[in-house]
């Protein structure tokens, strides 16, 4: 991106800066009461990685239990609690805040060329609200952990004697954290763009975060009121979702999925933004069809609000409603496919550098496409009746949520790690880890597509012996994944101590966050940047042979 800033010469920019956001002020209070979006982003990063670790431990335990058809390590009730905790922790504590609250908080103001988000104190508040929500989740964990599945379906969630209410309150509170982040992002994008930063000069991550914020603001409050009603159901017995008192449990499902389907896009649209950044940088080409990619984020956000009924094809919803929801679900695949095609087109005749972030982006393209296309199986009415509540569904959403979002998140973490910490990690180990994770993920979850089509229902504690070989294969995959993640953690932590100094722009990227020192100063830029071109313009672009003359 071409800017006119009084930037110091390149040699100076590549040295370790004397003053940066990390050492600008000292003492724990300077972190606990900070309003610097970069520090808040880092605190979020540590918090959500902790949640990811916790959710991962639950996942490993669930897979271990499924190694044999009968009891392996835990009883049936504990098993139900484990998969519920895995789901709730991963969704509410990790996936929803992951990219926006950690990477987004850090890089949204920098990509805008701003000094901070619009409401820095609100930003800090949203972090503490997240922490309070997490404490409620831990409360549920230690007081007869919840066993309803992450969907909290009534009437079981009203009658079970496990700690449902604390977990409902946790998700309720975490929702407000998510709303505050979304609000901050929308206002920042509207009001704090640097001079010359027009809407169509914004990096695509910002378009993705904008679309995500819209969903967060409009869908989350509906979840909030729904969870509040279920909590009231448990405390006061209000009966709105309780068939024994004339209430309707299917109404609960409508309310729940009105949030939770758009929430899928809260989790995956920011990942699209990260992939756009990585693909542009490592092919040294502007994203093909920039405007289409930008608007497809908004289109997904919009259409995503009208597809929730595809979770309820077998819940006694009318066939007509089923048809409408099925049609709309196919429709939402169009903007998603636009993105995948455009990224692929960007690769074409690009100068591709297979650095570790790019490896994750390419893995994302493969895995997310599988996840997206198997989604169409589930959106087709007749097919879904067969596949509903089987391991096929489990595999489908893990391909989207983990194969898509988690891989994009890890890719983004590698991409921006030098900017956040000022240090490079061990690139060779990073490539090995990416390969291990790719193998581990597909061993674990591709197997589950086969299990599902053969009729293995999800959430079952015991199963027929003929499924054991596939279940065992999947469990081994989960161990490979664990090794891969531990390796990533190891070399990233090691890089903090002895990583090479990264310099301002180790990847030769063009967006604004790379036009300042690493780690950046508290005010992000020494002078307000002035923007003259689009986000993906590379100085040596013309040197790349684009097409045969």
């Amino acid at each position: 991106m071409s800017t006119t800033t009084a930037t110091p010469p390149a040699a100076e920019m590549d040295r370790w800066p004397e003053k940066h956001y990390w050492n600008a002020t000292k003492g724990w209070k300077s972190w606990a009461f900070t309003v610097d979006h970069k520090r808040i982003g880092m605190m979020y990063l540590i918090a959500i990685l902790t949640a990811f670790f916790l959710g991962g431990v639950f996942a490993i335990l669930v897979r271990l239990e499924l190694l044999t058809p009968q009891q392996t390590i835990v009883g049936a009730k504990t098993y139900n609690q484990l998969f519920t905790l895995h789901g709730t922790v991963m969704v509410f504590l990790f996936l929803v805040p992951s990219i926006p609250a950690a990477l987004g908080n850090f890089f949204l103001p920098m990509q805008l060329g701003a000094k901070d988000v619009a409401f820095p104190k609100l930003n800090l508040l949203s972090f503490y609200v997240y922490v309070v929500g997490a404490l409620f989740a831990i409360w549920s964990l230690f007081h007869g952990a919840i066993d309803t599945g992450w969907t909290f379906y009534t009437p079981y969630s009203i009658t079970t004697n496990t700690a449902v209410t604390p977990m409902l309150l946790a998700a309720f509170i975490l929702g407000f954290s998510s709303i505050l982040t979304g609000l901050n992002f929308i206002v920042s994008i509207h009001k704090l763009r640097a001079p010359g930063m027009t809407w169509f000069r914004m990096p695509l991550l910002l378009w993705a975060l904008y679309a995500t914020s819209v969903i967060q603001l409009l869908a989350t409050p509906v979840l909030a009121i729904t969870l509040l009603l279920v909590a009231m159901e448990r405390v006061l017995g209000i009966g709105i979702f309780d068939p024994a008192m004339g209430g309707d449990p299917v109404l609960y499902q409508h309310f729940f999925w009105f949030y939770s389907h758009p929430a899928v896009y809260i989790m995956v649209v920011p990942a699209f933004g990260v992939i756009s950044e990585i693909v542009a940088t490592f092919t040294r080409r502007p994203i093909f069809g920039y405007r289409f990619v930008a608007f497809s984020s908004l289109a997904i956000a919009f259409i995503g609000f009208f597809v929730w009924g595809h979770h309820m094809f077998v819940s006694g919803q009318s066939e007509f409603a089923g048809m409408v929801f099925s049609f709309l679900s196919f429709f939402v695949a169009i903007p998603t496919a636009v993105k995948v095609f455009n990224w692929t087109a960007t690769l074409y005749k690009g100068s591709i550098q297979l650095m570790s972030p790019m490896l994750y982006a390419l893995i994302f393209l493969v895995q997310f496409t599988i996840g997206g296309l198997t989604g169409l199986f589930c959106a087709a009415l007749a097919t879904d009746v067969h596949l509903h509540d089987t391991y096929f569904i489990v595999a489908h959403f893990h391909y989207v949520m983990m194969g898509g979002t988690v891989f994009a998140f890890i890719g983004g973490l590698h991409y921006w790690w030098p900017k956040m910490t000022g240090r490079m990690y061990n690139e060779k180990l990073a490539k090995i880890a990416a390969a291990i994770l790719f193998v581990g993920f597909n061993v674990t979850f591709f197997t589950q597509f086969i299990l599902g089509t053969r009729g293995m229902p999800r959430r079952y504690y015991n199963y027929l012996p003929e499924y054991q070989r596939l279940h065992g294969f999947s469990t081994v995959g989960s161990w490979i994944l664990a090794v891969g993640f531990l390796l990533v953690a190891a070399y990233l932590i090691a890089s903090l101590r002895n990583g090479k100094v990264a310099g301002a722009n180790p990847w030769g990227a063009s967006t604004l966050e790379w036009q300042t020192a690493s780690p950046p100063p508290t005010e992000n830029f020494l002078d307000t940047p002035h923007v003259h071109t689009g986000p993906y313009v590379y100085p040596d672009e013309e040197l790349v042979p684009r097409r045969a003359a």
């Binding site: 701003a114 000094k115 901070d116 988000v117 619009a118 409401f119 820095p120 709303i179 609000l183 901050n184 929308i186 206002v187 509207h190 009001k191 704090l192 603001l217 409009l218 869908a219 989350t220 409050p221 509906v222 909030a224 009121i225 729904t226 009603l229 009231m232 159901e233 006061l236 017995g237 209000i238 009966g239 709105i240 309780d242 008192m245 004339g246 209430g247 309707d248 109404l251 309310f255």
Partner: protein, 230 residues
């Protein structure tokens, strides 16, 4: 209105613009945009309850028709008038700050707070206790035996408890919003007393005003739905 703007009084504390904003106007418009977006969130939150209302009103039409007769129309009307008055005085308080009439602003803020208190007193002091004494309460606490002594028509309809669940949830959530609004107005009175609001800075007044009108508007829908249509 063309009230001439009075000179900024000498005891006013001048507002400093946040370091990440270019100027006061950018800061003001950001705050206002942020608050409008927050109100969208609020709208969707109440929206969930309104959908639940429409759903049960459709399937339990007779229940809702009969049960709505147990609500007090005179108290509902009084509360509606009280809230609309408070919305007017809130708007006038903002107007007064914009033209540097600080004393007037404080008076309007106090009237708004008094109206809000009156609303809550009518709700919690008169309406809800009547429900408790007749056992017309939400869900599990609804007692048909006691309730049908006062309202015999409730005995003939299906699941009357659902009506009261919705009534208490919706007016309760609205009531919590009124209480939060009272806290905000009190905070404005304290800050206004310190001389922090003037023609150059009245953002907190403006956004609290938006909030207060929203709370008022929710009631404008709750009142006819529960008290008049049923």
């Amino acid at each position: 209105m063309s009230t001439p703007t009075a000179a900024i009084p000498s005891n006013i504390k001048r507002h400093e613009v946040g370091h990440h904003f270019g100027n006061a106007e950018q800061e003001f418009s950001a705050a206002k945009l942020g608050f409008w977006i927050f109100l969208c969130t609020e709208l969707l939150m109440f929206g969930g309850l309104f959908v639940a209302f429409i759903y049960y009103r459709t399937f339990l039409a007779e229940t809702f028709l009969q049960a709505h007769r147990t609500l007090s129309k005179p108290l509902g009307v009084t509360n509606t008038v009280v809230l609309i008055t408070s919305s007017f005085t809130m708007a006038m308080a903002i107007r007064s700050a914009m033209v540097n009439k600080q004393k007037q602003m404080m008076a309007f803020l106090w009237i708004t707070l008094i109206c809000a208190t009156a609303f809550m007193v009518i709700k919690l002091g008169f309406e809800w206790p009547a429900k408790f004494s007749h056992h017309t309460l939400p869900g599990r606490f609804f007692d048909l035996h006691h309730a049908s002594e006062a309202y015999p028509f409730l005995a003939d309809v299906k699941s009357p408890a659902i009506f009261y669940s919705l009534y208490f949830m919706m007016t309760g959530l609205h009531g919590i919003h009124v209480l939060i609004g009272m806290g905000l107005i009190l905070w404005l009175i304290i800050r206004g007393g310190r001389g922090e609001f003037y023609s150059g800075f009245y953002t907190p007044l403006e956004v609290t005003g938006l909030y207060w009108h929203f709370v008022d508007l929710v009631w404008i829908f709750l009142f006819p739905l529960f008290y008049l249509v049923g």
